[in-house]
């Protein structure tokens, strides 16, 4: 009951402006078709879930969107503009940022510095001015530090700001990745299994953080997650992939009752 209510509230804030659209996106590695004609539409303000069994092509989808791979065929449109084959840094500049399934932090840097790397994307000063340490650069660096500290507070890492990121715990590292991605001021944020390896309590906190990302920072969220309870409780719309193909799409309850999904995924999970 509570679930339904929350969805309705979220639904109110939904403006039906398309932000990301996959049009039959396909990628082949040699003979293997990792993602086959996947299409879905993300509206601004969506909390969108991407699920599927292991090896379904979810992370590959993320890699397509963020420019790590170039689609073999099909198009990926961001705010109405085709972004196929753009370099990852270009895509980040356009306003899509991501976290990684296998955590990729800048290990030797502190948590705050990690976030500042993200924040630096929106830097207004040019790099050569930092060799002379001109006042605008110093001012900007101070601003970024403040922004980083604020974001770390949002994800609950205020105490560990100066800790080397490699020394953080697994759950903290996942949250730090989210803060780092948020620092680039993206319009669309992609979270790759943000809850993996977290205990139920941490997951609950994370759900709140993700909602806050959408509501307070007005970012659109696309997330991959294995934990059904987490996804069903959080996302308003879900796409299910299996063997690189899209098998279902819709709100959580329709996914839950979709026979194809049960066969491919939940059926398999139910036997556990």
């Amino acid at each position: 009951m509570a679930l339904v209510q929350e969805q309705e509230i979220a639904g109110d804030g939904c403006v039906s402006e398309t932000i990301l659209e996959l049009k039959e996106a396909t990628i082949k590695f040699g003979g293997l078709t990792a993602v086959n004609k996947v299409s879905f539409v993300l509206n601004r303000g969506d909390l969108f879930g991407l699920i599927g069994p292991n090896g379904a092509g979810k992370t590959t989808c993320f890699n397509l969107i963020t420019g790590v791979y170039r689609p073999t065929s099909g198009d990926i449109e961001f705010k109405g503009k085709v972004i196929n084959g753009f370099a990852p840094n270009k895509i980040a500049t356009l306003g899509i940022c991501r976290t990684f399934q296998n955590i990729r932090l800048f290990g030797a840097l502190s948590a705050r510095e990690n976030v500042m790397v993200g924040a630096n994307l929106r830097s207004k000063t040019v790099m050569p001015s930092s060799f002379w340490l001109l006042p605008p650069v110093i001012r900007e660096t101070d601003e970024m530090r403040a922004k980083a500290e604020h974001l770390l507070e949002v994800v609950g890492l205020k105490e560990d700001m100066s800790t080397r990121s490699a020394d953080l715990s697994y759950g903290e590292q996942r949250r730090l990745e989210i803060a780092r991605a948020m620092a680039t001021d993206p319009e669309l944020i992609l979270l790759d299994e943000p809850a993996a390896g977290m205990n139920p309590l941490e997951k609950e906190t994370l759900q709140k953080v993700v909602r806050r990302i959408r509501d307070e920072f007005s970012m659109t969220v696309l997330l991959i997650e294995h934990d059904m309870r987490f996804v069903m409780g959080l996302c308003e719309r879900i796409v299910v992939l299996d063997h690189g193909e899209e098998i279902a799409q819709g709100p959580p309850e329709s996914i839950r009752s979709n026979p194809k999904v049960i066969e491919a995924y939940l059926g398999e999970a139910a036997t556990h």
Partner: protein, 394 residues
């Protein structure tokens, strides 16, 4: 456009091209032997063994020192001109070089590389550079290097050369040669007959002077005819020792191929090169595999070094291994590092490339060509000719 290039092409002696190519292939077989060591170690450990060139250097020095012990020092050979090497001597030198190099390789791995196995690859690379520098410079303290000694050619019983004619001079030219030679000989005989009548060779009477001029004229004609014949005749002259070197190198490589593909330890090597950690989980003693890999790779370098030093007679310094080492590394990368057949292919191509550069008249650039090839391969086909480039998983 073509006009600008004509002098360049005109400067090329096409008649010596086959000879150069043959030299290139012979040299390439040695590069291939060294390249195998790089490739095998890289295949198993993903480590560029920078010190491999120095192992090669130590192999050459081993051959030198053993040959000295057998009495082939410069002084001893001068005193006893009848001293001569036999096939047995060569086998002994080869065996010693291979054994010493193999052991040195294993020791280097044990002391320097094994502790670095779980460190980042760059740390292992720096260690390898350190080992390489250490061997070069500490070798200077212990090994004879000034003046650079070389192995006495008396060690080598396989003397002589094989001549492979590819194209004979035309009948007309040959005819010309024999006519001019006959003419010259007649003129010479006439001059010689006149000589007793003269005061001396340098103060000739007018008759003698005329005869001498005829003879010189005939001589010039003969030389010209012979030069034409030489440029028309295309042949390859190969020292027999180098032919033996080539076939020994090929035999060693065939042996290695058998070892890797048809023995138990070879299967272990292939497994370790495919996935080191999984191989160790599957009960393969990876440490033994690594030791064995280093032993075989270094022993092959030792064989190459012994043959290079013995049959080519190059003077040795402790930097002897740097250039062949780099070229062999390039050969390994060119063929696809980690790939044994690639090392053979790369080695031969390297030798050929070098020969072509020398043939084109840029002999002083032959060391630069290796790096140029390397840069181009890495930029355009990083996996090499027979290898495949690894893709990082995101």
């Amino acid at each position: 456009m073509i006009g600008e290039w004509t002098p360049l092409i005109a400067g090329l002696e096409f008649s010596i091209l086959p000879q150069q190519l043959a030299n290139g292939i012979l040299l390439g077989s040695i590069y291939a032997l060294i390249a195998l060591g790089y490739t095998m170690v890289y295949g198993v450990l993903r480590l560029i063994n920078f010190a491999h060139g120095e192992v090669f250097m130590l192999g050459a020095y081993t051959a030198l020192l053993v040959s000295w012990k057998l009495g082939f020092t410069q002084e001893n050979v001068a005193q006893h001109p009848d001293i001569n090497g036999s096939i047995l001597t060569l086998v002994l030198l080869l065996f010693c070089s291979m054994a010493v190099c193999g052991i040195v390789g294993v020791v280097i791995e044990l002391l320097a590389y094994r502790p670095m196995r779980n460190q980042p690859r760059i740390a292992a690379l720096i260690t390898a550079i350190g080992v390489s520098l250490f061997l070069q410079y500490s070798g200077q303290l212990f090994l004879p290097n000034s003046p650079p000694p070389s192995i006495n050619q008396k060690v080598n019983p396989i003397q002589g050369a094989t001549n492979i004619p590819l194209r004979k001079a035309s009948a007309e030219t040959l005819n010309n040669v024999s006519t001019t030679t006959a003419a010259y000989e007649a003129a010479k005989a006439a001059f010689d007959a006149q000589l007793p009548n003269e005061e001396s060779r340098f103060q000739l009477s007018p008759t003698g002077q005329a005869l001498k001029e005829t003879m010189d004229e005939a001589n010039r004609a003969r030389t010209d005819a012979e030069a034409t014949a030489n440029s028309e005749r295309v042949e390859i002259i190969l020292p027999n020792g180098q032919i033996v070197m080539f076939f020994s190198a090929i035999a060693l490589m065939v042996g290695l191929h058998f070892l890797v593909n048809h023995t138990k330890i070879g299967r272990g090597m292939r497994a370790a090169s495919h996935d080191f950690d999984t191989a160790s989980l599957m009960g393969i003693n990876v440490n033994r595999i690594v030791t064995f890999t280093f032993f075989i790779g270094s022993a092959l370098a030792g064989a190459g070094a012994m043959m290079n030093a013995t049959f080519l007679g190059t003077p040795l310094t402790t930097f002897y291994g740097v250039v062949p080492g780099v070229k062999a590394f390039v050969a390994a990368v060119l063929g696809g590092i980690g790939n044994i057949r690639g090392a053979l292919l790369g080695g031969l191509l390297m030798g050929l490339a070098e020969a072509l550069v020398a043939w084109a008249g840029y002999a002083n650039m032959r060391d630069a060509i290796a790096f140029l090839i390397l840069i181009f391969v890495l930029l355009f086909k990083p996996g090499g000719l027979l290898g495949s480039a690894a893709v990082e998983k995101v």
